[in-house]
């Protein structure tokens, strides 16, 4: 289904995972960082100057983005720094990220840019909806760590996330270090385990448990992952796509398959929550902004992308959303609760143990079917 870790709960009007996160962040979790951002909020550095060759960019670009998935001051600061240029954010509401490409394809003139992960940009390339960028106009791309830059080439990387395990050390007596530990402990903690309700993350985790790539197209390996998921399903309390960490903090369940940043957020509410990057490895997403093919606002977008990657502006984005970040250059401006959290920290050992979800082309259908089989079992 290409649902990436940002699929909202389906009903219209339901609060989305990221919306919740953003609201939580706005309600105070990221507040300590905002003071440090004072300088960044009202000014921009020299690297944000408009390109001199063709004059300042003018116009308003429409960015298809998740609600609240932007620095608190980023757009206002950009529009202040670039008079005449603007960013208008649009959201697909309850629609998952898997719908981004079909939506853009059907409305090519409506959107100028979008947020999407590697699977989305892979889809976008296949559907011919992505506009290559002029990297000479985005010098701040140097601030993004090489690993992310080389993995996300069709736009600017903005954030990434890992699917690991969070558990309550006061409710689970055994240590959990791997997916195998989780599967083995499932009968003992039956009904106290929650998995993510996102196909690629859930299937990817089962694939890592069985020792396979999260991007496999081998049907036999996929079948083994399906069987593993079906085996553990009777012990799952629910599959959830939002507020997973909150339930863990409240004790609604003891073990959860969850995203790094959600666990990091929940740890602030309950110190008994432990984050585990499973020893078999974890499935991960890497996402960013890309331009839509033939957009007339390409200059505005390139200026905005460059502005977004300024360390202070990027820190505003991270502090607002609480996401795992892709630019160590911004670390000095990022709230310490985020920058120093083991779940979110960017280090080579962690990155060596994660595998990014790629676009699977025709094989996507096999994942869609497998997911429905699991849900129906």
């Amino acid at each position: 289904m290409n649902d990436l870790p940002h699929r909202p709960l389906s009903p219209a009007g339901t609060m989305r995972r990221r919306e919740l996160l953003a609201r939580a962040a706005q309600m105070g979790i990221a507040l300590p960082a905002l003071g440090a951002l004072g300088a960044a909020c009202g000014s921009s550095s020299s690297s944000s100057s408009p390109p001199s060759s063709s004059g300042p960019p003018k116009g308003t670009a429409v960015l298809l983005n998740y609600q609240g998935w932007m620095g608190k001051h980023t757009v206002a600061d950009f529009e202040k720094a670039y008079p005449g240029a603007g960013i208008k954010q649009a959201s697909l509401g309850s629609i998952s990220s898997g719908a981004v490409v079909p939506q853009i394809k059907a409305n090519m003139s409506t959107y100028d840019a979008a947020l999407g992960d590697q699977a989305v940009t892979g889809q976008g390339v296949a559907a011919d909806i992505i506009q290559p960028l002029d990297w000479s106009k985005i010098p701040n791309i140097k601030n993004v760590d090489e690993k992310f830059r080389s993995a996300y080439t069709h736009g600017i990387p903005t954030d990434y996330g890992k699917t690991g395990i969070g558990y309550r050390t006061d409710l689970v007596s055994e240590p959990i270090n791997s997916w195998a530990d989780l599967w083995n402990l499932a009968p003992k903690y039956s009904g106290k385990i929650v998995f993510t309700d996102l196909d690629r993350d859930c299937i990817g985790s089962a694939l890592r448990y069985k020792g396979y790539s999260v991007n496999t197209t081998n049907q036999n390996e996929l079948n083994q992952a399906l069987q593993a998921l079906i085996d553990i399903k009777p012990h799952l309390q629910a599959l959830k796509s939002y507020n997973i960490g909150q339930g863990l903090a409240q004790g609604s369940y003891a073990i959860a398959m969850d995203w790094d940043y959600d666990i990091a957020l929940a740890q602030q509410d309950n110190p008994h929550i432990k984050w585990v990057l499973p020893s078999e490895g974890a499935s991960a997403y890497l996402e960013g902004f890309f331009a839509v093919k033939n957009t007339p606002q390409i200059e505005v977008l390139e200026a905005f992308f460059n502005f977004f990657l300024e360390p202070k502006q990027y820190a505003d984005f991270v502090n607002t959303t609480g996401t795992a970040f892709v630019s160590n250059a911004a670390t000095p401006y990022i709230d310490k609760t985020i920058a120093q959290n083991p779940a979110l920290i960017v280090d080579p050992a962690t990155l060596a143990n994660v595998e990014f979800e790629n676009y699977l082309g025709e094989a996507t259908a096999a994942y869609n079917k497998l997911w429905d089989q699991f849900k129906s079992a």
């Binding site: 009007g13 490409v101 079909p102 009904g191 799952l236 429905d372």
Partner: protein
């Protein structure tokens, strides 16, 4: 002449509604039907319109066929649940003095004043293990352990019954309220016991309300996807969720359209069968 002018004016008054229905109901419905016969490349998202039945053949896959069966079963269960709870309530209300009836009807409608989503999330807290319903059942000594109905098909059925109950109560109440209770008295005078009076007099006269209630509860319940998503914990695949996924996640509009059309056909067939059985029953 004047009569024709009056008719023309009345037709004009209907024009905005007809235009609205045409634009926002019939044309989109036609598009869904057309899409259901099309094919899409899930790589390029290019759609080829044609008259292929391949999307409909996919529904025969046991995976989706079982999902359809599960949805029908759940819809019937929830409708019966609404009927079993709604009929006595509607009967009770209809037998109250007029001013009390109004108050009780307002109480039935009160839940609609709150957002549907909020109400469904409220049920999560009500039926969760350790929640008020569990405490209540423990107090009554009906239950001793955990409730264990949240994130199960039972939880979904309970949520549908709760959400749709007013839609069952109101039409039944209207039918019951119109009954001439002299007929009930006559049946009693002629020696019928209360059970027989109910079966032979009250129930047949309330039948139009029961039918309407079953239709307006059963049909939306069949395609329901919000309640299964929230109260099913994502573990129970319903047809409404499959359609949603095909449109909003997979991007396979033709297959999603085919399931939607198939669901509409099932509903239409159910209505036709219902209607036919009613007609056959009517002369007797």
């Amino acid at each position: 002449m004047m009569r024709y002018a009056g008719q023309a004016l009345r037709s004009l008054l209907a024009l905005p509604t007809l235009a609205w229905m045409l634009l926002f109901f019939l044309i989109p419905l036609g598009l869904v039907v057309v899409y259901s016969f099309a094919t899409i490349s899930l790589v390029t998202y290019n759609i080829s319109f044609g008259w292929t039945l391949s999307n409909y053949r996919q529904i025969h896959d046991p995976l989706y066929f079982n999902t359809l069966t599960r949805s029908i079963f759940l819809s019937i269960s929830a409708t019966l649940g609404c009927l079993l709870l709604g009929f006595p309530l509607a009967y009770f209300i209809s037998r109250q003095p007029s001013r009390w009836q109004k108050l009780l009807l307002v109480l039935v409608i009160v839940p609609f004043w709150t957002s549907f989503i909020v109400r469904t999330y409220a049920i999560v807290n009500l039926i969760d293990n350790g929640g008020p319903l569990q405490h209540f059942l423990h107090a009554l000594h009906v239950l001793s352990g955990p409730l264990n109905i949240l994130y199960t098909p039972k939880g979904i059925a309970l949520g549908i019954v709760y959400s749709y109950l007013p839609l069952m109560v109101l039409p039944i109440y209207v039918s019951l309220e119109r009954i001439d209770y002299n007929l009930v008295d006559a049946a009693n005078d002629l020696g019928a016991n209360p059970r027989r009076t109910f079966r032979r007099v009250t129930l047949p006269l309330a039948m139009p309300g029961v039918v309407v209630g079953c239709i307006i509860v059963g049909i939306p319940a069949l395609g329901e996807y919000v309640i299964p998503e929230i109260l099913g914990g994502g573990k129970t695949l319903m047809l409404g969720n499959v359609i949603t996924d095909q449109f909003l996640s997979v991007g396979d509009y033709p297959f999603g359209s085919a399931i939607a059309v198939a669901l509409m056909v099932v509903m239409a067939l159910a209505l036709i069968v219902f209607r036919l059985t009613q007609r056959r029953a009517a002369p007797s």
